[in-house]
Amino acid sequence: MLDVIGGQFAPCDGHSRRSFLRIGSLGLAGLALPQILQARAEGSARKNTAVIQVMLSGGPSHMDTYDLKPDAPREFRGEFKPIPTNVPGISICELMPRQAMAMDKMSLIRSVAHESSDHFVGTHWVMTGYQSSPNEQQKNERPSAGSIVAKLRGPNGPGVPPYVSMVGGIFGGIFQNGAYLGPGYNPFTIDNDPSTNARVRNLAPPPSLSMSRIEDRSLLLAKLDQVNRERDVSGTMQGLDQFTTQAYEMVTGPAARKALDLSTEDPRLRDRYGRTRIGQSCLLARRLVEAGVTFVTISDGNWDHHGSIFQSCRQQVPPLDAAVATLVEDIYDRGLADRVLVLVWGEFGRTPRINNGGRDHWPGAMSVAVAGGGLKMGQVVGATNRKGEQPAEKPLRPEDVLQTVYHVLGINARHDFPNDSGRPMPVLNQGRVIGELLA
């Protein structure tokens, strides 16, 4: 089941030969609902875990956030100074004092790299674990991690969707869909700014519909919807009955509405997150996973700093710092650290050498911040070389990060789904759990 870098060894695919044969034949036929439920049951070793992914679209500079190089030549090192953190030996950018004080609850991975300096290819890579095919760079070719989670895990609690996406900024929200898993595994999107108002499409009833009318209608429907379910051999009718129950819970039940209502939060905590889009998005994400959402992606755009990078960072990093640091602290304060994993990354790093006051696309090195998830915190995994150009220790890839995410979620990343031509496509075909993060 586990494929770990360093230490532990077990079968590649996690299946006995016999089950391989059975699954192989299912792969040809496609998975029906009962098999999905079976796969869910098998995969849920850690039932109630959840992930909050902060996607910094555009590609933030590793050298100006989590991986400063004060000893690099002037044309590389940039304007910011490193500051110590509450973990001896770890320092980060001076624009991140809040995370510096929460570093014992975080781990930094500094040696992730891949090979594409294209926004689309890179984003597809980190969102799905696969580089997109040549000539298909703008196509959501593979299911996003959130879609895989929605399919294999479903929501942790009743009355909420499994996968929510908060969309913002240029390139925000791309490659978050279900691809060949079907549109049912696209995220439920929140496309307005949670610092002013949060709404999930079709969750809040249209204004002319009162709750009592919705309930009244559903009673009428129950009386009229009496067709013999045996007419449908595919089981879809029964599946729809289940969805109807769930949808009612979401619309009329308190869980989703309560989770979306930030006004019940302590205003002091809201201030700590920051009354910014990213700040309130992180707070909302925490409320959603508490309510039972399994995977939340927050897209924060505008990290594509080709020019005026230091000025832009002075504006954008502090709100991010407040949001991420508070999210991490909040998760620990509420005892969620074992079941909620926070993941902060972009589609690539930025060129170590400064060019015209900015930095360009650089997939040769990027930093990833993680917190919680029952993983080992307070450490740095891997390192880049002196000028921040490439991994010098423990080279890792986006697939390794996602493999670790799936590990936290109890998902077998060798499970495969048929694509439109019936070819079995594994959740990931590369990547191993990052052993250093296992507690």
């Binding site: 009229l224 449908d232 439109d420």
Partner: protein, 809 residues
């Protein structure tokens, strides 16, 4: 489900297996050559009716001279020394004697890499797509997928990694033996044991100096799996044996070297020794055996009961019916009775026109006493303009008529859709329709079919789409490696590709494109780098085509040859699925030896009839829709509740996104406002994908990026339910001031008549008295609350949310 199961148990209990009157063993003579030969014996008993029963696992096996040969409990005979002896097989008080001959025992035969070592790598999953067989290999060790390229596998084992994988001086130290036995850490875990037969074969091959081939080995030409076809009861076992046939006329038992796979795990599973176990499911299972780049298939027909079940076959002159009903008889299940006229009207109208039948149409069909009324109704549907709308929508999706190049490409996509629709409306023969697409040339503004080449614009996508769309074949696997379940090699792929390698393109790709013939150009196999002459699949090469001849014209004429084994079959299977929700081959565009049809005789009959009609699509639709198979009720009847693939009843299916949206508008009394299109435009009439609709997206409208109809998602999901329950979009329709609810407020008819109107329209039938009472009670309550219009809205809302509405049954 429970009731069916207990019924089956009762049947079994009531009819104990009839006594065996004779037994026979196969093969008639066991011939073992060399020290490691092994032959699987199969023991078959027959009852008084002549029905065959597998007794291999129940029989006992005794060898007269055990020094010469041994037999295990599963019937596998292996060599001990040279000589002749006898095997006595005994079961149920009967016995059979099989001569055994062992020769060449002392002769340590060279191990043949391709036919002995590679199959081990396949059987144990080493070269599977999830491990070393994937294109990037696993941890630096890469094998060809499923062992189709023994030469490169030999290279990888013997030469790569500085030769560490093989230690000729001390075979046991070779990585190829230490890793799979987990003697040292292996990411894939332990695959076989030290000292196992597989271990010994590989060790012997290393000791012999890791030969690739002596060049003298005969070529493997085919695999046969025995018994090739058999009726097997549920919950029982059947041992299979696999025989490899070589070009020199010899054959060898390779049962223990082959890899097995079943295509229907609910009907039968198979283990690594070739022992098939039938399950609860009823129908056909194909068990595939794979060995040395060849595949062979055994078919098991698994009936609900082997006892004859009495039922009267519906009278029919339609050639489909005897074939469907014969299959049902063979499987011991009975068909459901015919559906009602109103069910038939709704079902066929949705399938042929994509619309709900009008109230008047249903009433007329019900009133008629003409025995041919359903046939006449089908004729009416086929001749309607909506038939062309619906099938143009179906074809436009898989022909990828997509505004991918932005609004500027709209002229082309609109023209292509109009061309497809016109072809369908005028009932252009299918062979001509396809020929005009695959051989399209000239200016797009004059010949709209050229649009297909604008959208399908790479060599590979042209090859893959042509094969999948028009031949029902997924050949794209063979782009990078030998097709894992088929005979197609990379040479076949690139030979087929050469049919498309002389397409010249002029124009800016957006507003207009011109396709013309290049004087030369051929595709080459990327592995061997050999240039391949154009060659249709499984047909002779078209060598030395003159510069003036377009290979695509040759392709078109090959497609429409009457003996083309794929072209017409692919279409009739696709259309069968359109009506029955399931292809005779499923998925409908993945037809291959290893995925056989559930009813081969029926597929052949449809194929022949379609060709004989001159590829007449309307005639095919009429043939299918007027069959007694198509008018069965969807309610299970008698013993057919478990049937999923033999069409004992109609399988209810969800309405496609566009059809559902149109139906909701019909019932709500509204129309869909598509930007830039006139009012009352139907979703099924949309020319391309460029019309945003949250409804259509949520309900699985295909994005037209794939040639596969499976891109149209029929899976239910929570977003759809939320949309129907709670969206502003649906609520706006219900509240529309021109809508049905608004009009009813000023409609003097009694509410019960309005309810009947609604039921007729939505379901084809009238409301049952309790249903009418529930609706009236709800409306009455709202009336007293002075919210009558909301009451109507609620009833309409409830109707479109029922499963009866969302499904075609």
């Amino acid at each position: 489900m429970v009731s069916v199961f207990s019924l089956a148990l009762a049947l079994l209990a009531g009819n104990p297996a009839p006594p065996i009157v004779s037994i026979e063993a196969a093969p008639p003579v066991v011939t073992l050559r060399g020290s490691d030969g092994a032959v699987q014996v199969i023991v078959t008993g027959r009852d008084a009716r002549g029905h065959a029963v597998d007794l291999t696992g129940k029989a006992s096996y005794a060898i007269k001279t055990t020094k010469i040969a041994r037999a295990d409990v599963a019937g596998l005979v292996s060599a001990g020394s040279n000589g002749r002896t006898e095997l006595t097989v005994s079961v149920n008080g009967k016995s059979a004697v099989v001569p055994v001959e062992v020769s060449d025992f002392e002769n340590v035969r060279p191990v043949h890499f391709a036919s002995e070592v590679v199959p081990i790598l396949t059987r144990f999953g080493c070269n599977a797509g999830g491990c070393h067989g994937k294109s990037t290999g696993q941890n630096g060790f890469r094998l060809s997928l499923l062992g189709f390229d023994p030469k490169s596998d030999h290279e990888a084992l013997v030469r790569e990694a500085r030769g560490r994988r093989i230690m000729p001086g001390d075979p046991a130290q070779s990585l190829i033996l230490k890793k799979p036995t987990a003697s040292i850490p292996h990411g894939g875990g332990k695959r076989f044991a030290v000292g196992s037969p597989e271990y010994s074969t590989i060790a012997r091959w290393i000791r012999q100096g890791t030969p690739l081939a002596s060049g003298a080995e005969p070529k493997l030409i085919s695999l046969e799996v025995e018994p090739a076809k058999r009726l097997v009861p549920r919950q029982s076992r059947q041992q299979l044996r696999v025989i490899a046939k070589y070009a020199d006329g010899t054959s060898t038992d390779v049962t223990r070297l082959a890899q097995f796979q079943s295509n229907a795990a609910d009907v039968a599973t198979v283990n690594e020794t070739g022992l098939a176990e039938t399950q609860d499911g009823v129908g056909e299972a194909a068990i595939m055996a794979r060995f040395g780049g060849q595949v062979g298939v055994a078919r098991a027909t698994v009936p609900l009961t082997t006892e004859p079940v009495a039922w009267d076959e519906p009278k029919s002159s339609n050639p489909i019916d005897p074939l469907v009903f014969r299959k049902l008889r063979e499987l011991g299940i009975e068909p459901s009775p015919p559906c009602s006229d109103s069910e038939f009207a709704r079902r066929s109208s949705l399938d042929i026109r994509g619309t709900l039948p009008s109230i008047a149409e249903v009433a007329e069909l019900e009133r008629s006493t003409d025995p041919a009324r359903r046939d006449k109704w089908i004729d009416k549907l086929i001749d309607s303009p909506e038939y062309a709308d619906l099938f143009a929508m179906k074809w436009s999706a898989i022909l990828k008529n997509r505004r991918s190049l932005g609004v500027q490409s709209q002229a082309g996509t609109f023209a292509f859709h109009a061309w497809v629709r016109q072809s369908i409306a005028e009932n252009k023969p299918y062979d001509r329709f396809v020929a005009e697409i695959v051989a399209a040339r000239g200016d797009m503004s004059i010949n709209p079919a050229v649009n297909w080449y604008r959208q399908v614009n790479t060599l590979e996508s042209r090859v893959d789409d042509t094969a999948q769309l028009f031949l029902g074949m997924r050949i794209q696997c063979a782009r990078c490696h030998h097709h894992p379940f088929e005979r197609w090699s990379q040479d076949d792929y690139y030979g087929f590709a050469s049919l498309f390698s002389r397409i010249g393109t002029k124009g800016n790709d957006v507003a207009n494109v011109r396709i013309f013939l290049l004087p030369s150009g051929q595709a080459s196999n990327p592995v061997t780098r050999q240039v391949k002459a154009p060659k249709p699949l499984g047909a002779p090469e078209l060598a030395n085509l003159p510069a003036s001849v377009d290979p695509r014209d040759k392709l078109a004429s090959w497609l429409r040859q009457k003996d083309n084994p794929y072209f017409a079959k692919a279409l009739v299977n696709r259309y069968w699925k359109h009506f029955f929700g399931r292809g005779l081959v499923e998925p409908e565009d993945d037809m291959r030896v290893t995925n056989p049809p559930s009813n081969p005789e029926l597929l052949d009959a449809l194929n022949d009839s379609f060709i004989a009609s001159g590829y007449d699509l309307k005639a095919l639709v009429r043939l299918i829709a007027t069959s007694k198979a198509y008018d069965r009720s969807s309610l299970p009847s008698g013993t057919n509740a478990g049937d999923r693939r033999n069409f004992a009843r109609f399988y209810a299916k969800r309405l496609p996104a566009e059809v559902l949206l149109d139906a909701i508008n019909e019932v709500a009394g509204t129309s869909e406002p598509f930007i830039g299109l006139p009012d009352n435009f139907h979703a099924t009439q949309l020319p391309d994908d460029g019309f945003d609709s949250e409804f259509l997206t949520v309900f699985g409208r295909p994005k037209r990026e794939s040639v596969c109809e499976c891109e149209r998602s029929s899976e239910a999901n929570l977003s759809q339910t939320l949309h129907l329950l709670n969206s502003a979009e649906l609520q706006r329709k219900l509240e529309n001031s021109q809508g049905r609810a608004a009009k009813w407020v000023n409609d003097a008819r009694p509410d019960s008549e309005k309810i009947d109107e609604l039921y007729r329209l939505a379901f084809g039938r009238l409301a049952k008295s309790d249903e009418r009472a529930h609706c009236l009670e709800h409306i009455e309550r709202r009336r007293t609350e002075k919210r009558l219009r909301q009451g109507y809205e609620d009833v309409i809302w409830a109707i479109v949310n029922t499963k009866e509405f969302l499904f075609n049954q």
